[in-house]
């Protein structure tokens, strides 16, 4: 599969750039109440979901960035859904600037289960794209595993961006929101920092979705944007607007070798390609709007 950068006249939509540092605090009363209940009754009380979150208007100086995953995962037994604080996890991930971005679905849960998931969701918000859409990209590319390049290529990181695309996109992300400069790892090393690469991947999603908007598709979905990500700027929108029955080779003109690199054959239809995406992401995520 391939990824590229795009620069063209765009119809703006989405969150405006700016320093959006959200500080999440949690009321601790529920913990105290649970302790009291435990004293009265030895039975284990399982919490259902996260406690009520307070989202203050003004952050408190001196406190680190602090964010909760907003969906999925049990808090018991060390399973996914752990709280992510600034400073990142053991994989060297940096903390994220920018605004948080709501999400849902299995792909979102997969991303949020990573130590860098919340920071990546914030990166998506800073670039004006849905965290679910960003999560769909990492699930499609690496199942959200921060893996290095292999096979002689340069695609690496959780979002498997190649060097040229990554460089163009991280520069684009910085131009879009200069306040993220303190949150990213500079140079190509940033590809292997999931939070930094999340900014680049989010910017790529943004430009791809804006390209579809510019071509007349009003509110691009993850599935439609994936067509641009995978097949390029000229034929991607054509794949997005094709009927399920169309032969994908007759739309794209790609050779058998290039189709094979995308997991397709010369007889594959657009509908079959769409189904592979839906099978991996689920229908709700595939039809999620990309731009916020």
């Amino acid at each position: 599969m391939s990824a590229r950068s795009r620069k063209r006249v765009c119809l703006q939509k989405g969150a405006s750039p700016g320093g959006r540092q959200w500080l999440w605090l949690v009321a601790g009363a529920s913990g105290a109440l649970a302790a009291q209940a435990a004293n009265a009754d030895p039975q284990v009380v399982l919490p259902i979901g996260l406690p009520v979150q307070v989202r203050p208007t003004y952050s408190e100086p001196g406190l680190p960035a602090f964010s909760f995953p907003t969906g999925g995962g049990s808090l018991l037994g060390g399973s996914p859904g752990s709280i992510d604080t600034s400073g990142g996890g053991g994989d060297g991930s940096t903390s994220a600037g920018g605004g948080s971005s709501a999400g849902s679905g299995d792909a979102y849960n997969t991303m949020m289960a990573q130590s860098w998931g919340s920071a990546a969701a914030n990166a998506a918000g800073a670039m004006g794209v849905s965290a679910t859409a960003l999560a769909a990209t990492c699930v499609m590319e690496s199942n959200c595993q921060n893996v290095g390049a292999s096979g002689g290529g340069t695609a690496s990181g959780a979002f498997q961006m190649i060097n040229t695309t990554y460089t163009a996109d991280i520069n684009g992300a910085l131009a879009y929101d200069p306040t993220i400069s303190g949150s990213i790892v500079s140079g190509l090393s940033g590809q292997m920092d999931p939070t930094t690469e999340a900014y680049a991947a989010s910017y790529e999603l943004r430009t791809d979705a804006l390209a579809l908007q510019s071509d007349g598709i009003i509110d691009p979905t993850v599935l439609q944007t994936r067509a641009v990500y995978q097949f390029g700027g000229s034929v991607g929108p054509d794949v997005a607007a094709a009927s399920d029955s169309d032969n994908i080779a007759e739309i794209t003109g790609l050779s058998a070798a290039s189709l094979a690199a995308n997991g397709l054959t010369t007889s594959s239809t657009v509908g079959q390609w769409r189904q592979t995406i839906i099978n991996k992401l689920g229908s709700a995520t595939a039809n999620q709007t990309v731009l916020q």
Binding site: M1, S2, A3, R4, S5, R6, K7, R8, V9, L11, S150, G151, G152, G153, A155, Q160, I162, T164, T165, A211, Q213, S214, D215, G216, I217, I218, G232, G233, S234, V235, G236, P237, D238, A240, A241, A242, S243, S245, D246, N247, E250, I251, T252, G253, L254, S255, A257, S258, A261
Partner: protein, 157 residues
């Protein structure tokens, strides 16, 4: 003299209103039989495979048959032309994927490539608020006559 000034003012006002007018949009379910598939002309636009991949150099779509009418967006591949072709001032009326009616320079579009002997075009239909196309047998929505590949440096291995 007053009448002349009023006339000029009215003409200017109409021009401004015309330039700011929103593009017409077909409602989902509207008949689409009056449209046919064309394609942007990579040769006329001097597009390279790299530029095409990166989305550079695509032609502008305007709100009316004039560059002064205002930009509606860009066309990147397949364009749905009003059929038979509706030409004005060198521009051709088109329908965009989201149902907007726009205009594009007639010099940057061409019929679809086809297999020899075929008469293939496309059939349009609505899928939600999207106008989708189905290629007729023999028609190819290729940007280049012999197809094209993903640029070498963009392929992941």
């Amino acid at each position: 003299m007053y009448r002349v000034r009023s006339g000029v003012a009215l003409a200017l006002a109409l021009t401004v209103i015309g330039n700011c007018a929103h593009a017409e949009r077909l409602q989902p379910g509207s008949p689409l039989s009056g449209y046919q598939c064309y394609h942007i002309d990579a040769e006329a636009l001097k597009l390279t495979p790299e530029a095409a991949w990166e989305g550079k150099g695509f032609p502008t779509v305007f709100k009316g048959p004039s560059e002064k009418s205002g930009k509606l967006g860009v066309a990147s591949g397949v364009v749905y032309v009003a059929w038979p072709l509706q030409k004005q001032n060198g521009f051709v009326q088109i329908l965009r994927f989201g149902g907007d009616v726009g205009w594009i320079s007639g010099s940057v579009i061409r019929p679809l490539y086809r297999e020899p002997g075929s008469k293939g075009g496309c059939t349009l239909s609505w899928r939600g608020d999207l106008v989708q196309y189905a290629l007729d047998p023999g028609a190819k929505a290729w940007l280049f006559r012999d197809g094209h590949d993903i640029p070498e440096d963009k392929i992941r291995r």
